[in-house]
């Protein structure tokens, strides 16, 4: 994939987390509230990633709350970075309050992340409605933590079910994957993990965002007991 200059902005002020996910927690000097309140320039708050020189993180403040930043602050910051960056990814906090409004204000494109569960889908529908009301739509959907075994046995909403309910375009399906926990334990994004299905799913989403046609991957369960048995039988038969 071509290198792109990307800034990730953690929108969850007061509940900062992207720093630990990226393993950059020891490098933080300034955060987004310092930028907004004029204690530093935006460049000073941008932490360069250890692995990718084109990736920067603007951390959220940990000791303040969402009201420390306004939607117009976010628009101003993003305007300042727009020319230098190919992508600015703003991670919106959950909820429909200030943090969400802050993340939405400067957005050109909105990706809604939801799990295939009733509460999550219902919330996503509200969010999609609010995005449209702000004329930022149509949003696109990332279906997260899909458990193929549960879907197969009819105990989890399928991708088709969710798409039909939400009437939205799909941009990615991410399977439930233990490697996400392992990666976050290490402070290594799961996209760097080898053989991680979730990591692969995120790579595919990135490619689709860049306009590539990538088929949705097959996340059929292949670790069920019956499957394992079938494999063993095959092995013996050979």
């Amino acid at each position: 994939m071509n290198a792109k200059v990307v800034t990730i902005s953690d929108g969850d002020i007061g509940l900062r987390n992207l720093d630990v996910i990226l393993g950059l927690e020891n490098r933080i000097v300034y955060d987004i509230v310092d930028v907004v309140e004029g204690r530093c320039r935006i460049r000073q708050a941008m932490i360069r990633d250890k692995r990718l020189p084109e990736l920067f993180l603007i951390p959220a403040a940990q000791t303040r709350d969402k009201s420390a930043v306004s939607p117009s602050d976010m628009i101003r910051l993003c305007e300042e970075l727009r020319d230098e960056m190919d992508w600015i990814i703003i991670d919106s906090p959950a909820g429909i309050e200030r943090g969400f409004r802050n993340a939405l204000a400067p957005a050109d494109l909105v990706l809604v992340v939801t799990n295939p569960e009733v509460s999550s889908v219902r919330d996503a529908d509200r969010i999609i409605g609010l995005v449209e009301a702000e004329e930022k739509g149509p949003a696109q959907l990332i279906l997260n933590r899909v458990n193929p075994a549960l879907t197969k046995r009819g105990d989890m909403l399928s991708t088709e079910d969710v798409l039909e309910l939400l009437a939205i375009k799909l941009i990615g399906v991410v399977p439930e994957d233990e490697s996400v926990i392992v990666a976050s334990n290490r402070g290594q994004p799961v996209t760097f993990a080898n053989n991680s299905k979730a990591g692969q799913a995120f790579h595919n989403i990135a490619k689709r965002l860049l306009g590539e046609e990538v088929p949705f991957m097959n996340i059929e369960a292949n670790n069920g007991i019956m499957n394992k048995l079938a494999k063993m039988m095959k092995f013996r038969g050979d």
């Binding site: 509200r126 009819g154 909403l157």
Partner: protein, 88 residues
Amino acid sequence: MDNFLEKLFGKEKKSANTAKERLKLVLIHDRTDITPGQLESLKNELIDVISKYIHIEPNKVKINMTQEGKEHRLIADIPISSTPNRRK
């Protein structure tokens, strides 16, 4: 009884289907901002108005909201009374 039989024969509805059906209704109410209670009073007023003109069976009137893609529809099923007022 139905439920019992379904369980007995292992034909219990899959929980994903239940989730989908429930969500369909919830989302329609969320989007239109009409509560089931309001829908019920809409139904009652509708029955009053229509009864002025046609003999209907109030107990069999059904009002439902459906969704297809982004389109929502209010569907009223109003059976006309079976004791017809034919001209004599």
